[in-house]
Symmetry: C2
Subunit: 343 residues, 2 copies
DNA sequence: AGGAAAATCCAAAGCGCTTTGGGGAGTGAT
DNA sequence: ATCACTCCCCAAAGCGCTTTGGATTTTCCT
């Protein structure tokens, strides 16, 4: 069923039917009702392609997920983020289109999306330090919003980020308050902007407590369970092992726990652990009582909000870009306790 | 830059330029080269919307991800599957469009995709027992392919599935061979087709070994870490506790391990564990040696293949639908060992 | 009742592409 | 020189919608 058929069926012009359906005022309420009813019974919805052609809008948002060709990891966060963003899109009648892309091809993909007029804007995932994508998109004139921020890009742009620095600052302070002095950091890849900021927060706390940075206590890598396990195992094997560990992801934290327990130590007593927790739907941090003391911020909620921000950036291009900084909450679980007494 | 401008620029008609770009024979090689060159320098690609309107194709595949409104869980598998499918799509010039949908709205969404002509076909995720979606899509005339199968639907349709029954049959047999007799099953929700089949395999092995099904040893729920933990904790607390546990997901298996160790038992000695492993990129089962003995099958590879199958279903609608059954491989790790001797 | 303003509705153009149905220019044979 | 083919190329229609610029009818004042 298309517009033409529907309008013939109703004995009206295409113009009137279109207007009735799109809420224009120059249609009598009675006609509008009649049209809406017919549309429903014939199960008519306008073709997105035709509509897009006519209006010049795509009514679609692109999400470009970079997958490094080297270590084919799909960000585990991405599912929940997408779910959040999807809620927003369907509320506003937008489509979400996804491209999984080797990060070497990113340039081609973005300019393709632009020149094919496939989307009205894009969300940038996993911003890195001095991320070249922001400049590219600015140059292409394709509206965008960033999940995170990109240190090194100076023009204003729309973003939503967790305050990673303050979260890790507070978490580290918390460990100091418990008496810990040797605190390790198991971080994400430090080309990632978020990891850089977390490290800054950590370093700031150490500085405030007059504890020098110790490279032996700082690891950075893709945040898998195995990475958390190996890093922890190695550090616990060294002399002067850490009494507390700060970890960038709940998944890695599971590995941290495994290494601790494998060594016959008790988490929360011999070694304290604080992790960041993205509140993923399939990986809750315990049920009633959190297992891990954590800095917590829902990535799904982030998806909802950032999508909303991008849409207003698109519909109101003159406004200055929206920006939002979320504070993570510190939830105390059973993975932390006072530093063990030295004997 | 659009076709008109490009053709004016070249002093050719739109027809010729379009034909040159789409590989039609009635264009001289010289002209074709000239056109291709110009398209590249002006960074021209045809508007998807216009092309779609003209050809009647969408050049897009829909993925509808159901999210139950009750327990807002996003399937952790979905990220890797999508990544695999995305590779296939970009190779064939298709777009992937994603809808995150409360499962109560599914009907509306699918018929919307159809009547808006937004996609050429869809992939069905997470098929349930007697899944109504297959009938609906058949009725709508929207091509589809299923990740898994739907028991209770009798018309032929395209699917790709892991042989869940045989995988869990072999895994259970393996545990019997190690001397276990009290074997528990921690399964996904049994409305899900895959969980039903796994249970069948498990039950078949028990029957073959003359061990009656014991409801106390069978749990089913959303496969979170917490679910694995609680189920195991409860079962280990009962008298006549299991000596081996079969688990439907690596994530739950992490919870299983936590419960075992919390009780001061050793996994692989006091309690053996076998889990299914979807080979998720962010959750590898150990590094060199697998942590868990597992039935393994890459969900990312499944995505790649199923997408390919859907595309051929679309381009060659007369052929009978493709179907593919993958066998999981049994990888022996350190989570299994001989059944403890009764004293 | 007469005229202006408001309320409804419509025909047709245009969005950017593909594709149909020709048409003119070379080429070789007669 | 003429004819019959190929080779290349083109004008124009059509895909399904929105939107412009009117046209027609109703309603409201005076």
């Amino acid at each position: 069923m298309n517009l033409k058929q529907l309008s013939q069926n109703l004995g009206l012009s295409q113009t009137t039917v279109s207007r009735a359906l799109n809420g224009y005022p120059e249609v009598s309420p009675a006609t509008r009702r009649r049209v809406e009813e017919a549309a429903r019974t014939f199960n008519y919805s306008p073709s997105t392609r035709a509509k897009g052609l006519a209006t010049g809008q795509a009514l679609a948002i692109g999400h470009v997920i970079p997958v490094s060709s080297k270590h084919e990891m799909v960000n585990p966060i991405f599912g929940d983020f997408i779910a959040g963003a999807g809620e927003t899109y369907s509320r506003h009648g937008y489509e979400m289109i996804l491209s999984i892309v080797d990060d070497a091809d990113e340039r081609r993909i973005y300019s393709g999306l632009k020149s094919r007029r496939a989307v009205d804007g894009v969300i940038i995932h996993g911003p890195r330090m001095n991320d070249p994508r922001l400049g590219l998109l600015h140059e292409l004139g394709l509206p965008f919003a960033v999940h995170g921020r990109a240190t090194g890009y100076d023009k204003p742009y729309a973003w939503l980020d967790v305050n990673n620095r303050s979260a890790f600052l507070r978490a580290t302070d918390f460990l100091f308050d418990l008496g810990h002095r040797r605190i390790a950091l198991i971080n994400g890849l430090e080309v990632m902007d978020f990891a850089h900021r977390r490290r800054e927060g950590y370093a700031e706390s150490l500085r405030a407590h007059d504890v020098p940075l110790d490279p032996h206590l700082m690891r950075s890598g893709e945040m898998t369970e195995v990475f958390g396990y190996q890093s922890t195992r190695d550090m616990l094997a060294e002399e002067n092992a850490p009494t507390a560990i700060l970890c960038s992801s709940l998944i890695s934290a599971l590995g941290v726990r495994r290494a601790i327990e494998e060594k016959g130590l008790v988490m929360g007593k011999d070694v304290s652990v604080v992790t960041h927790d993205d509140a993923l739907s399939y990986l809750q941090n315990g049920a009633d009582v959190p297992i891990f003391t954590a800095t917590r911020s829902s990535v799904r909620e982030a998806g909802r909000r950032l999508a909303e921000m991008l849409l207003t950036t698109i519909t109101e291009p003159t406004k200055p870009p929206l920006q939002q900084l979320l504070e993570a909450e510190l939830m105390v679980g059973s993975s932390t306790g006072p530093a063990p007494r030295k004997d």
